[in-house]
Point group: C2
Chain length 244, copies 2
Amino acid sequence: MAGKRAKVRLFVDAELGPGQAVPLSRDAAHYLFGVMRLEADDLVALFNGRDGEWTARVVSVGKRKGILVCVQQSAPQTLPPDLWLVFAPVKKARTDFIVEKATEMGVRRILPVQTRFTNSDRFRVERQQAHAIEAAEQCGATHAPTIEPLQPLDRLLGDWPAGRRLLFCDEALAGTSATPKDASDAQQWAILIGPEGGFSPDERQSLRQMPDVMTTSLGPRILRADTAAVAALALWQSRWGDWR
Amino acid sequence: MAGKRAKVRLFVDAELGPGQAVPLSRDAAHYLFGVMRLEADDLVALFNGRDGEWTARVVSVGKRKGILVCVQQSAPQTLPPDLWLVFAPVKKARTDFIVEKATEMGVRRILPVQTRFTNSDRFRVERQQAHAIEAAEQCGATHAPTIEPLQPLDRLLGDWPAGRRLLFCDEALAGTSATPKDASDAQQWAILIGPEGGFSPDERQSLRQMPDVMTTSLGPRILRADTAAVAALALWQSRWGDWR
């Protein structure tokens, strides 16, 4: 292996471990051999969200199939903090962007919600799951967030797990100086980003009545939903997450 | 004016003040009357980066021209903190995104630089200036950042103004816990985001030798340049900027 490095990083849905053989899906084989032009003996970095990152060697090349064998672990399994991102889907390109960015910034679950003023009712779970996996492959994470189906905000809040803090980024606070000063030792968190039309008065009231909610402002300018998501994740990670 | 609100927010390059007439450019007239279908007596919110935001009334409608008259000031002039964003252009969509996001997050100047491993040498200043103005119109700012032409990083660093702090987001620190702990009363700042290929060893050395540089990590995952820009701006604004 001297001098050789894995040129491709790939998420797989298979066990990884010493000497473990990894059969490739049709799509993965097409990507590795058709698109990236890998050959036998080339190295690939694999992760599955459980076993860390493994360097694996190509042992069998086919048009729609192939086999890799794990050589050695190249990074331990790490998980992002137990943080969820809850957001109202926006236009397709900006929703894609939010999923990609949340993966890079480090979240465990992404939960799209329908709100009173949600800009879009379309959210394709499988497509977005693939998008999150691609972002994880790119950013060196050994874990990709789980993408949940679209659900009504009031149902999610009604079933809210006890003890999970909710950081509510309230665009109605733009221009005020409210910041989340309440240092907390909570281990479970979620960040809620509203739709571009804002929350309705009764949604805002339900949120403010929740026991574990904290409200924050994201500065004096009105941020688009995708900007707000990245900004809130950066603040959270630097205050309470794995950027400390 | 009772009950009427400005439906459109527009940046203009004209004086704004009580009773001031504002002649529209060809493009602005087309946008207001052709696209947004405004008519005489409709209200528009105007800003020029100097005189705050003014509510103005349409007094003359033409195909390629028109006149508004300022009615009253609706917001005072505010400037974002004296912060520059210095970044290496990436693919077009992501460069557009960086300019849009930097405007929303609040910067005074945007300075694209060519580095050893810059991914793109194309940067269209006029197009990006228009893009920043559009973002300012959207986000309620009364100021749009100035977009500078592409210049070599070493020239910018060679002429670096004394006393302006440079926050250097070093992707080589990903996975370490370096954070900018040095609380500072500096009033002038810049944030530097590297190209996706990273900085070269000699670029990194020049940067580290600058008197006013501070280095920071943006967490354990590798962020794309556009994600890094928004994340760094959020951290800066919440620590030293106008989100405090």
